[in-house]
């Protein structure tokens, strides 16, 4: 009896790490938190849903960025390479800082000739540049 009881304990007791379940690795999605999935052996956030207002930027081939179009510096007009529609699009209100819209995707954009209009478009200013891939001046 003792022998079998010992056998039960040995096999039923969880082994310790490194074979154990602890650690950051995962084999199953349920190894991760509810809002994460197992990817390449580690937990990663689930793919975010497309952000509202990021539609045209997506067409430029980049993943949309949540919060696209929020003004961060007021400089507007400057779209980050390939991520048109993200972050710095802003209000582009200042004529002096509206500057250029440079993009790696969607074609090379020239200088914005009418920064006021760009500013008037709000977040859309740089988005349109990236989305349409317009190379020349607007």
């Amino acid at each position: 009896m003792k022998r079998w009881a010992l056998l039960l304990v040995v096999f039923a007791t969880p082994w310790s790490s490194p074979l154990g379940c602890g650690g950051d690795g995962c084999l199953r999605n349920s190894d991760c938190a509810a809002d994460e999935v197992c990817s390449a052996g580690s937990c990663a956030p689930e793919t975010p849903a497309p952000a509202a207002g990021g539609g045209e930027a997506n067409e430029a081939g980049e993943t949309s960025v949540p919060g696209a179009g929020t003004t961060t510096s007021g400089s507007g007009g400057t779209a980050q390479a390939g991520s048109a529609g993200s972050s710095n699009a802003g209000t582009a209100g200042s004529e002096s800082s509206a500057g250029q819209a440079s993009m790696s995707e969607g074609g090379a954009a020239g200088a914005v000739t009418d920064p006021i209009d760009e500013g008037g478009a709000g977040f859309g200013g740089a988005l349109e540049l990236g989305g349409a891939g317009i190379g020349g001046a607007l």
């Binding site: 009896m1 079998w4 056998l7 039960l8 096999f11 039923a12 969880p14 082994w15 074979l19 154990g20 379940c21 690795g25 995962c26 084999l27 199953r28 999605n29 349920s30 190894d31 938190a33 509810a34 999935v37 197992c38 990817s39 390449a40 052996g41 580690s42």
Partner: protein, 141 residues
């Protein structure tokens, strides 16, 4: 009809995208019944429910066709899987050895092997593999 209650663990393997990896399977608590026919006591149908109690707890079940080769030794094939929080389905086989303690009570030991290719719990189209060893008490009902 026989009841079972036990504990289990073992090895769990799968390919999360970085090649086949193995680790210790989640510790589980299991219970269930075996139904034997009076006319053909060598054949039985087994039902098990289990709870994996490590990390995020998951709940699963298993149904078996058992073939008893001797009074205290049988082999079986099963369908198994989890239903929450993610789904996982597959099948496998195993055997049961019983160490009797009296007429109605015994200790069971069950090695088993399962392959689980279906469900939302596997990352991508990979197959999860369980090599488990379970043990516990068996009692006549």
């Amino acid at each position: 009809m026989d009841g079972n209650f036990g504990l289990g663990t073992g090895l769990e393997g799968g390919d999360p995208g970085t090649g086949l990896e193995w680790r210790r399977a989640r510790f589980r608590v299991l219970g269930g019944v075996d139904l034997r026919s009076d006319e053909g006591p060598a054949d039985a149908l087994g039902f098990r429910a289990f709870v994996e109690v490590e990390k995020r707890a998951s709940v699963g079940a298993e149904v078996r066709y058992e073939r008893w080769m001797a009074r205290n030794f049988g082999v079986w094939a099963h369908l198994t899987g989890t239903i929450a929080p993610e789904t996982l389905f597959g099948g496998g086989f195993g055997c049961t050895a019983i160490i009797p303690f009296g007429k109605k009570v015994g200790l069971f030991i069950e090695p088993s092997f399962s392959a689980l290719p279906l469900g939302s719990d596997t990352p991508g189209d990979t197959v999860l593999i369980w090599g488990l060893l379970s043990a516990g008490a068996r009692f006549g009902l």
